[in-house]
Every structure is written in C-alpha cells, then in structure tokens.
C-alpha cells in the first residue's frame, strides 16, 4: 500500500550517516539452555509444587511454561527483576508500612516466575467462589432480617449477635438486590496433595486486586518472551466489571448513577490501589471532606456546586464511615451517611455489617451454612477449625499448640497469629497466657503444608509457599476475576504471605485451555 511520506521542511535536512537511526538489532533471543537450566537445583520433595508437580502428570500448558523458564539464566532473570522493581517504585505502586512512628513507602516485591493455574483448576475455583459468595450474601440477609439460621440452630446465635462486627444499624434494612458482599476476596491455599481449601473470606474491604492487574502489565512488559503465545485469561476487565456492578446495585429509580470510590485519603496504606480502581472505573476518588449529606441524600462537592452521588465503593471500615453513627472521633467519615444509606438513598459497597460473615469463628460454620442455604455440598473445602470460645475447641487447642496455627478472630494482615511448629517455648508460653485470658478471641487450625512455587531467591530459584486470593464481584450476578493475587512468602520456610510480613507477589496465569 502507498502512503504519503512523512513531511519534512524543504529542503529536507540531511543527517551525517552516523546520526541516522541504526536498524533495530534483531531481538536477542538467547538460545535455550539444557532443559534443567535454572531449575537444576530445584527440589520440593515435601510440598505440592504449583509448577512442577501434578499427580496426573504435567499438563501441556505447564510443560511449556516450565521449558521456557528453564531457558532463562539467573543473571538475566535478576536483571529483569531489578528493572521491574525500579519501575514499580517510579510508578509509585507502593504500599505504606507503619511500624512505631515511621511510615515507609515500600513496593510489594514482585517475583518474575508466574504462578500458573490450569483451565480445569480454575473452573473448580470459579464455581467454588461463586457458591461461597452466594451463601455469604444469603447468610447476611438472613441474620439482619428473619434469622432463620439462628432459630434452626445451624450456628450459635451468640456467635452472630454478639459478634463485634454485627451491625445493629442494619437490622431490617433492605439493600438493592439483597447483595451485601459486592466485592469479595477468598483466600485459598493448597495442601500437600494439591487440594484447594478456603483459608478465609474477606468480605469487608478486600485489597490487592490492583496488584493482580499491575503484575500482569509488568509481566507482559518484562517477560514478553515467556508470555508470548500463551493462552492467558485476561485480567483487563476488572475496572469495567466493578463499575458495572456498582451501577447495578444503585438505589432503585436512578437511571444514570454517579459512582464514587471513597478513600480514607493519601495517607492510607492502600491509597495507590484506591487511585488505581478509581481510574480503572473512570469515577472520582473522594475523601470524607468531598462528600456532604443534605436531607438524607449524599452529594459531592464539585467546582460547579453539589452533585448527587448514588453508589459508593467505600474503602473505609464501618466504624470510620460516619461519626454520627459510629466512632464520633472519626475525621475520615461523612456525618449522616449511614442514615442516608438506611433510607435507601445511596448504596454502600460492601454493605455495612458484612464483617460478621468473614469472622474467623463464623468461618468454621461455612460448610454448614452452604448446605443450609443452597442445599449443596461445598465445592471448596475448608480448613478444620477449632473455636476457642467453645470448651472442646479450647481444650484441644491448648493440648496441641505446637501442631496448630492459632489466630485472633478480629485481626487481618497476618498480625497476632502463632504458628505452633515454628514457635519457641517462650513464645508458646506467652501465647498460652494470652489465649487463656480471652479464649473467645481465638481459633486454631492444623498447620497446612502450603503449596510452593519456584521463586527467584538470593541463592537461586527455590521453592516458596504461596496462597491465592481470587476476587469476586456481585451485582445482578457474580463474576470472578480469572486468577487473583498470588502472594508468596519470601522467607525460606515461612508460611505467612502477607505483604506487611515480608510477602511478595506473583503474576497469576489462568490458562484458557
């Protein structure tokens, strides 16, 4: 095809030969090394490996990834890693760690070796997460209205009604579509046999989805030779789906809803993610001072005056949302927001009072709740859980401390938990005292031998433990973002993957076939 040539001033300037652009050198495709390559010393006899071991042989898609990876040399991989981390820092893709009086901006360490899920593994997770979210929403609707589940004795009433996260303000309040948990993060782990298990639900304000998408971008930029031609499920749709979800659950009668993302502001450790999601949705990121309630309706302050707001994706916990309803000292909230919400003039996502559903003690009842509400067996298994509030559970826990993970029920982020097998005697004794002081604050679970994934470490490619947090959006239907956040415990032998505890992340590949 002929095209007009690019115009230049006349007469056209001439460049000395040396200055004319050199032809691009052919892409330096290092010849593939012997198949073992960087995996030569890799060995994981005790754990399920996400990349290497499958009981029924390695599926072709994983074989390809493995073969391609084997062709990289370590120095090359390290070089690309440092490039990636420099880019993350420059881009301000950071989270803030608070320790004592300091606040430090850190990047979430990014490991270049992806975590790969086969199409059938993903299908299983997808169905299991959908089922779980459905049960969570039915449970929440029930406990804030008829309370059948309590009367039928499926779960102790005290566990629900006396739960610190049970929200009295929600009793009898109808929410659009009966959806309480619009955005859910389900933490999954795999045991020694490769079986997926739910570790916990995150039904309040789960974070990390921005890393899923940014990690993919980073991967495609820096490892194009690894990803090329692979049938990867895309993660690009999330912002669009999120916006769509928030529109679907806007108050009835609103035709063109104004959606906003409500952030605690620039000093919040997840501010980057809030910005990311607001941008992906194309909606304003608001702080408390940008919103105002008049006549039980919510408005945002714009240069043209007040504009109505209909759906709020809030990234603040319940207690900070409204100083009139909850914590009167909260400077972050909006006075009158909760009353406007109760009257149905604005939608909050997630709803108030969802924390009771992702409570670590309520978790123990989830299999029973799924059977109760859906009449189905749980698709995803749960980890056996001992509730220290109960005599039996406490006795078992005290007798087996060195074989259990003991967790405070109200905490997240991996804070305050004890891994019995890795604790010193002093630590065990101290924890025993805390446990006896307030048993109802704790649950315990067997220590699961988490699956591992090959990870670039200072001394080479080694096995490190990983988990997986898929994200589910629920408006009229539930949709699960293919993949999710794979967190990796970078310390050798560590089972704690939380970013605040020295965890990193990996790109999660879901194969389309």
């Amino acid at each position: 095809m002929n095209r007009p040539v690019l115009q230049s001033p006349s007469p056209a300037p001439t460049y000395p030969a040396a200055m004319s652009p050199a032809p691009a050198s052919p892409a330096s495709s290092a010849p593939l090394k012997a198949a073992a390559g960087m995996f030569a010393a890799y060995d994981t006899p005790d754990f399920f490996c996400e990349l290497m071991h499958r009981t029924d042989g390695l599926p072709p898609s994983l074989q390809t990834v493995r073969d391609r990876l084997a062709g990289f040399d370590l120095a090359e991989l390290r070089h690309r890693t440092s490039t990636a981390e420099a880019q993350l820092y420059r881009l301000g893709i950071t989270f803030t760690v608070y320790s004592d009086r300091e606040a430090i901006d850190r990047i979430l360490p990014f490991d270049m070796i992806p975590r790969v899920l086969t199409a059938s593994e993903w299908d299983h997770i997808d169905r299991g997460v959908q089922q779980r979210v459905k049960a969570l929403n039915l449970f929440l609707r029930d406990i804030y209205h008829e309370r059948h589940v309590l009367r039928d004795g499926i779960i102790p009433a005290s566990l629900v009604l006396n739960n610190p996260n049970y929200c009295e303000a929600m009793v009898g309040v109808r929410v659009p579509g009966d959806v309480y948990v619009h955005i859910n993060g389900t933490d999954l782990i795999r045991d020694r046999s490769g079986r997926f298990m739910v570790l916990e639900d995150n039904a309040r304000t789960p974070s990390g989805v921005s890393y899923v998408i940014e990690n993919r971008h980073m991967m495609l930029r820096l490892m194009p030779d690894l990803a090329s031609g692979m049938p990867l499920r895309s993660v690009e749709e999330y912002g669009l789906k999120l916006h769509q979800t928030l529109c679907e659950v806007a108050p009835e009668g609103v035709t063109d809803p104004q959606v906003v993302l409500f952030s605690p502001g620039i000093y919040n450790s997840a501010y980057f993610e809030h910005v990311f999601l607001a941008r992906e949705m194309g909606v304003p990121l608001v702080e408390g001072k940008d919103l105002i309630v008049e006549n039980h309706r919510v408005y945002m302050r714009t240069v043209a005056g007040l504009r109505p707001v209909h759906s709020i994706y809030r990234r603040l916990n319940d207690e900070y949302l409204d100083p009139l309803a909850f914590n009167p000292d909260s400077m972050l909230g909006v006075p009158g927001l909760v009353e406007a919400y109760r009257r149905g003039n604005v939608t909050l996502a997630n709803a108030l009072g969802t924390g009771v559903a992702d409570d670590k003690a309520v978790y123990a009842y989830m299999p029973r709740l799924i059977r109760y509400y859906l009449g189905e067996d749980p698709i995803l298994d749960s980890v056996q859980t001992h509730i220290c509030a109960e005599q039996e559970g406490l006795a078992y826990t005290l007798a087996n401390m060195n074989k259990l993970v003991i967790k405070p029920v109200g905490e997240s982020g991996g804070y305050g938990l004890l891994i019995g097998s890795q604790a010193t005697q002093t630590e065990l004794d101290e924890f025993r005292a805390k446990l006896l002081e307030d048993p109802s604050n704790y649950i315990s679970q067997p220590i699961i031998d988490l699956s591992v994934s090959p990870t670039l470490c200072p001394s080479g490619v080694e096995a490190r433990h990983v988990d997986l947090r898929p994200f589910a959006l629920t408006g009229k239907n539930t949709w699960v973002l293919p993949g999710g956040l794979s967190r990796v415990a970078l310390r050798k032998g560590s089972l704690v993957v939380n970013s605040s505890q020295g965890g990193g992340s990996k790109d999660t590949w879901v194969m389309a076939r």
């Binding site: 301000g92 304003p284 608001v286 940008d290 945002m300 302050r301 043209a304 005056g305 007040l306």
Partner: protein, 343 residues
C-alpha cells in the same frame, strides 16, 4: 444543556463533575512547579550576574523578591551568605519556599489529584521529588549551582511538556493553567519590582557598562534576554526593559500575555462548563486589571510609581486567587437547591 454542548464534548453532564479538591490540587500543582522554575532561574542569574555595590553576588535580593527576609532571619544570621541562601532555598525543608518543600507540595497535590493526572505526569513528578529529597549540600557544591539550576529548569519544563502532551483537556486542565498563569504573572511583577529598585536606588544615571550587565541580568532571569535584543537591538533603557516584561504581547512571561491567558481560561470555564455564575466576578477583576496595564505606557507606570503598581497587581492577583477558592472550593458549599444546574 446549552447549544455549546454539541461543540464541546466536555459539556456532557458526566464530565462536569470535577471535584473541588481536584480543582484546587491541580491549580497548586501548577503554581508550585512554576514557582520552582522561577526560583531556579533567579538563583542561577543571581550567582552569575547580580552584584552588590562591592561586586559580591547580591543574594539579599532573592529574599526581597520572595518576601522571605523575616523567615530567613529566624534561621540564619544576616547578612545573607551564599552558603546559607542556598541551604535556605534548596534543601531547607522547614522553609516553605525552598525547592525541596515546594517539590514536596507539588507531589502532595499531584498525589491528591492522582486519579486525574496521567501516569507519565505522576511518574516524572515522583522521580523529580525523590531526587529533590535526596539532594544534599555537598551535591550542590560538587555539581555547581548552575548545573543544579539547569537540571531544575529542565525537570520543570519536562513536567510542563508531559502535562501538555498527556493531560485530558477538561476543567482539571483549565484549573492547572489558571494556576500556572497566575503564578507567572505574580513572579514577573516581583522580579521587576525588586530589580528595578536595587538597580536604581536614587535615580542614578543610566548607561554605564555595569548597568547594562545588570539590566541584562533582569532580562535573563525571565529568559527574556534574546527576545528583547531582537526587539530592541539598539537602546536598552529601564523603561524599555520594564515595558517589555510588563506589556509585550509575544513574550511568554510578560504580565500582559499571562493576564490575557487567565482571562481566556476563565472565559472557557464560564462558557464551556456552564460556570458563568462563579466566573463572572473573577472575569470582571481580570478585565479591570488588564485595562490598567493597557492604558498606561511603561514610562507612565514608572513615573507614577512602579513599586506601587507592582504591589497593586500582586494584591489583585492574591484577591483573584481568594475569589477562585471561594467560588470553586468554598468551605461551606451552597445547598443543592441553590446549585441545581439547568436541565
């Protein structure tokens, strides 16, 4: 919707929702970046060209331009030394007019408006601010002040270029430009005011070699030297220089040109975004201000009192900034009934 909506897609309702806080942040982002660039110019030109009567660099004049004498005296002994001035204006983070403090403020404003600005803008600002935070006095000495100032100017110009090339053209862009041109207007009046009086303390005779160098330095501080030469190849008089910096229609930092830009931005906000109600009083102020400039020659301004006129302009610009704040990000917003927009 008005008829303009067909021509200006920004009139679509969903785009006319710039948060007040975003407007404010965009305006101050531009003001801080413009101020950093101006300060870099001043520091560089002062070191090279501005001399006290005894021939030493006239560092005091920078303090006067920024009205920083009191703040400086709290931190350092007078008279000002080069070392202290550089610390005060470059690395002293407790001084709000230092480069480091202003870079920090620019980034905080950008962070606040981060959902709006382009990733490239953010990345450049992020890297720029990081490097300013890490800058130490030995670095400055090692690389020389002029090297640093050149880098600062270039970083600011990169910021303006990236912004021009990547920021979506809606209200946020207009508030950004409003901040930039208001800051430039203010800076040029400060430069003229101080330099004029340090140069001609008592109506001294004009035309010595020293004078020419000094007037050249005034022009250089504003990046105006060569443009002025092209326009005035023969005669350099104080009135010529002042007239050029105040009234020239083509010079990017002249007061006239910047006031005209401010006027045209207010006009765009008013007509394209249906903000007549808010813009009316602001436009009136700027029109009056332009008239005072158009109706007088440089000679007349000087003979009636240059300092008084520059002070008047600065006060008017400050009043304009206050009116912009009150109109677009009021502490107490109008109730919904008052602000219902035409259907």
């Amino acid at each position: 919707m008005t008829q303009t909506s067909a021509r200006f897609p920004a009139m679509l309702a969903n785009l006319n929702t710039l948060l007040s806080r975003y407007g404010e942040s965009m305006m101050w982002l531009a003001r801080y970046m413009e101020r950093i660039e101006n300060l870099a110019r001043l520091l560089e030109v002062t070191e090279a060209f501005v001399r006290n009567p005894d021939g030493s660099p006239g560092w005091d004049s920078i303090l006067e331009i920024n009205s920083d004498e009191d703040r400086y005296a709290l931190l350092y002994p007078l008279p000002a030394t080069e070392e202290n001035i550089l610390a005060f204006y470059i690395t002293e983070s407790t001084n709000p007019t230092s480069i480091r403090a202003m870079a920090h403020m620019a980034r905080e404003n950008a962070r606040s408006a981060r959902p709006l600005i382009s990733t490239e803008m953010w990345m450049q600002l992020n890297v720029f601010t990081q490097s300013m935070m890490e800058l130490s006095t030995p670095d400055i000495r090692r690389n020389g002040l002029s090297g640093l100032c050149n880098r600062l100017k270039q970083d600011c110009q990169t910021h303006f270029g990236v912004t021009e090339g990547t920021l979506y053209r809606d209200q946020a862009w207009l508030f950004y430009l409003l901040g930039k041109y208001l800051e430039r207007s203010d800076q040029i009046t400060r430069l003229i005011d101080i330099r004029y009086h340090t140069l001609l303390p008592g109506g001294e005779t004009f035309g010595s070699q020293m004078d020419l160098t000094q007037w050249g330095s005034v022009l250089r501080s504003a990046a105006a030297y060569h443009a002025f030469r092209r326009l005035q190849p023969v005669t350099t008089t104080p009135a010529n220089v002042v007239g050029f910096l105040l009234k020239n229609e083509g010079f990017p930092r002249s007061l006239m040109l910047n006031l005209r830009q401010v006027d045209s931005i207010l006009n765009a906000l008013s007509t394209h975004y249906n903000l007549r109600h808010q813009c009316g009083p602001l436009q009136e102020r700027i029109i009056n201000l332009r008239a005072t400039l158009e109706d007088q020659t440089a000679e007349e301004i000087i003979s009636r009192g240059l300092h008084e006129y520059m002070t008047y302009i600065q006060d008017e610009l400050a009043a304009l900034q206050a009116e912009v704040s009150a109109a677009f990000w009021p502490a107490t917003p109008m109730t919904p009934q008052e602000t219902v927009s035409p259907a």
